[in-house]
């Protein structure tokens, strides 16, 4: 099993009446709600949390990309990944990911991912999402009906740039470059690639064709995810793929651990409520720009089948959220049992653990993070022991990695300019 401690980095200061007074948490969110001075503390807390998770033995530290979004404060996940890579020295750096069609030219992604892989000593797990319609179309102005074509071209360019041993010319429709020759190159050739998807057959096939891991980053929990991930495994069977390694898939799940079920509710319920009630309050007009989804996907019924009803979740009780699988919460034993159901039920080997939730403060987050690492994770470790040798979807760090040197001039011989 691979457990990635994944932080969305929500803005924790949305007002109590946010839902009533504001139309959307995303795209045209009221700019007056952001306070950069508070933001300073927020970012540093969030980076501390990721680094803390590294110290507890999580396999990966996860960041992702959103724009103009108060539940995701990472327009540049690569900056956050770089920031943690010098203090978190063990875990994989899971960037899930860079929305390829938003980088101009897209070799920026080849360059920055290579930098991260080299700085971290080969610890990068790279994600290539198409990006949500909110981010890609509404915030970044990409034309919806052309987004996928642009994405595909960018993907092919990045992969070729990593593979090439000579500079080459790229005469694409969206990118024209006379000399493609990114420096540096990644240590891993290529880094393992994960693709966040939302249930389209095209994305299932894209992952299977390229040996990428398919990630479902949902907020609606493992029970509702069953149909979507089953679609992926069914597709694999239909295509007669040679293996069913659970590492071909990943899933994001909100997880809250305390000593007892009752303590979990007492400690975390307000923060879970903050997330479902305020963070997922998105104006319906921004859900899906016409042309963003393929006709094939709409016709497959995937949208009605898989699209979660957050309007409903916004007003659910703790008990309903637990019962409905939106969250896995409770004592270590309760959480372990539910996690086993999820891992077996969805047949997944990569778990993106959403342990910081909504406006949860750092002390509670660390508590839940530690209990999961110490009392849950060890018991789930060997769930897929028979696939232990499948290393296709995880990073392969260098054995000998550099560590950060001392920063204080008083501790080293250099830095004092030779003064006596």
């Amino acid at each position: 099993m691979k457990f990635t401690w994944f932080n969305l980095m929500p803005w924790p200061h949305l007002p109590d009446d946010f839902r009533k007074q504001h139309r959307s948490v995303w795209v045209d969110i009221d700019p007056k709600l952001y306070d950069p001075v508070k933001g300073h503390a927020v970012y540093n807390d969030y980076l501390d949390m990721l680094e803390y998770a590294d110290s507890l033995g999580y396999d990966g530290l996860g960041v992702n990309e959103h724009h103009q979004n108060a539940y995701g404060l990472m327009p540049s996940p690569n900056l956050m990944a770089a920031a943690i890579s010098r203090r978190a020295l063990n875990a994989a750096i899971v960037v899930l990911g860079n929305s390829l069609s938003l980088y101009n030219p897209p070799i920026r992604v080849a360059e920055e991912f290579a930098m991260l892989d080299v700085i971290s000593g080969g610890r990068l797990v790279a994600g290539f999402p198409v990006g949500t319609s909110m981010d890609t179309n509404y915030c970044y102005g990409d034309i919806p009906a052309l987004t996928r074509e642009r994405y595909q071209e960018a993907h092919d360019l990045v992969r070729k740039a990593w593979r090439a041993t000579e500079p080459f010319a790229w005469n694409g429709r969206y990118t024209k470059l006379r000399y493609v020759n990114p420096w540096p190159k990644p240590i891993q050739s290529p880094p393992p690639i994960h693709i966040p998807g939302g249930g389209s057959v095209e994305t299932y096939d894209f992952c299977l064709d390229n040996v990428y891991s398919y990630s479902y980053l949902s907020f609606s929990g493992y029970i509702r995810a069953k149909a979507l991930l089953q679609g992926y495994w069914d597709r694999l069977t239909e295509r007669n793929e040679p293996d069913e390694s659970p590492y071909r898939a990943g899933f994001a799940q909100t997880i809250c651990v305390a000593e007892t079920d009752a303590e979990a509710e007492r400690l975390y319920a307000p923060h879970v409520n903050y997330f479902f009630n305020r963070c997922l309050h998105i104006a319906p007009g921004f859900a899906d720009a016409p042309g963003y989804r393929t006709i094939k996907t709409i016709k497959s019924g995937a949208l009605s089948q898989f699209s979660p009803n957050f309007e409903e979740a916004a007003h659910m009780s703790w008990g309903d959220l637990v019962e409905g699988g939106f969250i896995i919460a409770g004592s270590p034993d309760t959480v372990r049992e539910r996690m086993e159901d999820m891992i077996k039920g969805l047949h997944v080997g990569n778990i993106f653990c959403l342990i910081h939730v909504g406006d949860m403060p750092i002390d509670k987050t660390k508590y839940s993070t530690r209990l999961f690492a110490e009392k849950v994770m060890p018991k789930l470790r060997n769930q897929w022991a028979e696939y232990d040798n499948d290393h296709r979807f995880w990073c392969k760090p260098l054995d000998q990695r550099a560590t950060p040197g001392p920063v204080s001039a008083r501790n080293g011989s250099e830095g004092n300019g030779g003064a006596q």
Partner: protein
């Protein structure tokens, strides 16, 4: 009587609503699409031979992924005109179709000598930002499209049953195909450089506007009038952006003055 025909254009088969007798008139529809029952089309067919090609992906017509940018749209329109055997037809366009008609007249100024633009898209004025129809849910549209919002809403939802899942899926598919195509020239801002090309239009041009157009408000009419040399503006009262539906007779009468 308007009927649906299919013609072969170089890149794709195109469905054309056609009918009537008289001088040739090429009609380019707006982002909402066009039906054979369209009142303006039927009224025009009483005086003109009307040819109204559906943009690929509209109705149940074939999509064309090779049409991506404004030049592709303009050349496609010209290809269709050629395939229909039309020589200097009167060109009429509404909204997105008005933008396409203006582009055609600017890029091929010798092929268009009479042009009627009914509240066309294609310009952007920072002082008068257009509402974003791509970020609206269907029930929000009548308020920006119609002078009489209630009557407009009734027109838009006639025959629609959103509680019927099959209907809903057909609606979603059609919406994605149609507005996905429209988005190639309208999203996120419906400006593909037309302002810099308007000077090339030689056609005698009539600008027809609904007085209470809230999607492309009247300052856009002034901008078009100033940009096109031989242009005249007709503002029709008690009509919004959907002036062809709300004041059909007045629109036909105005177009008649170009003939």
């Amino acid at each position: 009587m308007i009927r649906l025909e299919t013609i072969h254009a170089p890149k794709v088969d195109v469905q054309v609503l056609t009918g009537g007798e008289g001088p040739d008139l090429l009609f380019l529809h707006g982002a909402g699409g066009l039906l054979a029952e369209d009142p303006l089309l039927n009224a025009l067919a009483e005086r003109f031979r009307v040819h109204a090609p559906l943009l690929p992906g509209y109705g149940d017509s074939e999509e064309c992924h090779e049409i991506r940018d404004m030049l592709d749209f303009t050349l496609h329109t010209h290809d269709v005109m050629t395939a229909l055997g039309l020589v200097k037809p009167m060109v009429v366009g509404h909204s997105m179709g008005g933008m396409m008609a203006a582009e055609l007249a600017a890029v091929m100024p010798n092929d268009v000598d009479r042009l009627a633009l009914i509240c066309p898209a294609g310009l952007w004025l920072d002082e008068h930002p257009m509402p974003d129809i791509f970020a609206m849910v269907p029930y929000e549209l009548p308020a920006v499209l119609f002078h009489d919002v209630e009557a407009g809403a009734a027109m838009m939802t006639a025959g629609a049953d959103f509680s019927d899942l099959d209907f809903l899926q057909r609606f979603l598919v059609q919406n994605a195909r149609q507005l996905g195509m429209a988005g190639k020239i309208l999203f996120p801002i419906p400006d593909r450089g037309l302002a810099e090309r308007l000077y090339r239009i030689k056609a005698k041009t009539l600008l027809i506007w609904g007085a209470s157009d809230r999607l492309t408000p009247l300052p856009y009419a002034d901008a078009f009038r100033q940009g096109i040399a031989h242009s005249e503006l007709v503002v029709i009262p008690e009509a919004g952006h959907m002036v062809p539906l709300e004041q059909t007779a007045r629109v036909v009468e105005a177009i008649g003055r170009l003939a």
